[in-house]
């Protein structure tokens, strides 16, 4: 399975709807400090079901909604969509294309969709967990986290091996 595209709208500094398409191999993301690169990483983690606002550098989940600038007002909705090619059925759902969408509103309410059909957050989380790309996989290494793998004690590292099984 592969990630084909990422759509970000109203999430953190991405006030305007932005689409990134991904291909095979290595895609580099570059830009000055504070331009929004790590916000892209967090958009993917959020859409895959990240539950902790602190894990996304905020205090409350609505902190991920575009907060406005001197020229633009704050927005009321953050949306992220992930699209996957699933022909190999790595995601346990019988569909060639899979689209995950997560929304949050300023009042804190949330909506979740798999292939445009409303669902719960846990449906998204378990879809990835069952396919081995969930929380404990090494598919996303956030900024400053590369040495986390060492900070675990020897007893905890066995868990890393167990989860790799």
């Amino acid at each position: 399975m592969s990630l084909t595209s990422l759509i970000i709208s109203g999430f953190k500094s991405f006030a305007d709807k932005t689409e990134l398409t991904f291909d095979k191999g290595v895609t580099g993301i570059v830009g000055p400090n504070g331009s929004g690169k790590s916000n892209i990483t967090e958009a993917v983690r959020w859409a895959m079901g990240e539950q902790s606002a602190k894990g996304l550098r905020g205090e409350h989940m609505p902190d991920v909604i575009f907060a406005g600038t001197q020229l633009r007002p704050a927005m009321n909705l953050a949306l992220v969509t992930l699209k996957f090619d699933n022909q190999d059925r790595a995601l346990k759902k019988d569909a060639d294309q899979i689209e995950i969408t997560r929304k949050i509103f300023r009042d804190g309410t949330s909506e979740f969709y798999i292939n445009q059909k409303s669902c719960r957050l846990k449906d998204i989380v378990s879809l990835f967990l069952d396919s081995g790309i969930g929380r404990s996989s090494f598919s996303i290494i956030s900024q400053g986290q590369v040495e986390e793998i060492f900070n675990s004690r020897p007893e905890d590292r066995r868990t890393i091996i167990e989860e790799t099984a």
């Binding site: 399975m1 291909d23 290595v26 895609t27 929004g36 900024q143 066995r158 091996i161 099984a165």
Partner: protein, 156 residues
Amino acid sequence: VRARFKATFRAVSEAFSEIFPKMFGGGQAALILTDPEDLLNTGVEIKASPPGKKLQKLSLLSGGERALTAITLLFAIIKVRPVPFCILDEVEASLDDANVARFADFLRAYDAKTQFIVITHRKGTMMRANRLYGVTMQESGVSKVVSVAISDQVSA
């Protein structure tokens, strides 16, 4: 369960020992069980000696050596349990240019089926990517993404 742990451990530790000299341009490393007699409770130790150096405590390694050893372990794990995509956010910040080049060569040579999305400000990584997206804030506080030609970005 014990048999599966043993098999997984062997696979990850073999991958770790194999990848380490590729990342470091030499040297050796291994994963060691703290208690091989007790597979249900044993911990896992990481041993690493960069090229030309004697084996020492992991804590004495330099900032760049630690980061590259952690990257090596990450690659050993995804070799044993492949992921469809892997996002790396500035993992090579503390590497010198020679180590960045080896790291980025390793990414580039990886099975093209695994997608790597690499956030970086290092030229060595940029020049080995298949494509680049540039993130800018032309309008203050608002991010915008454009495709960037690798040659332009690297000579910038």
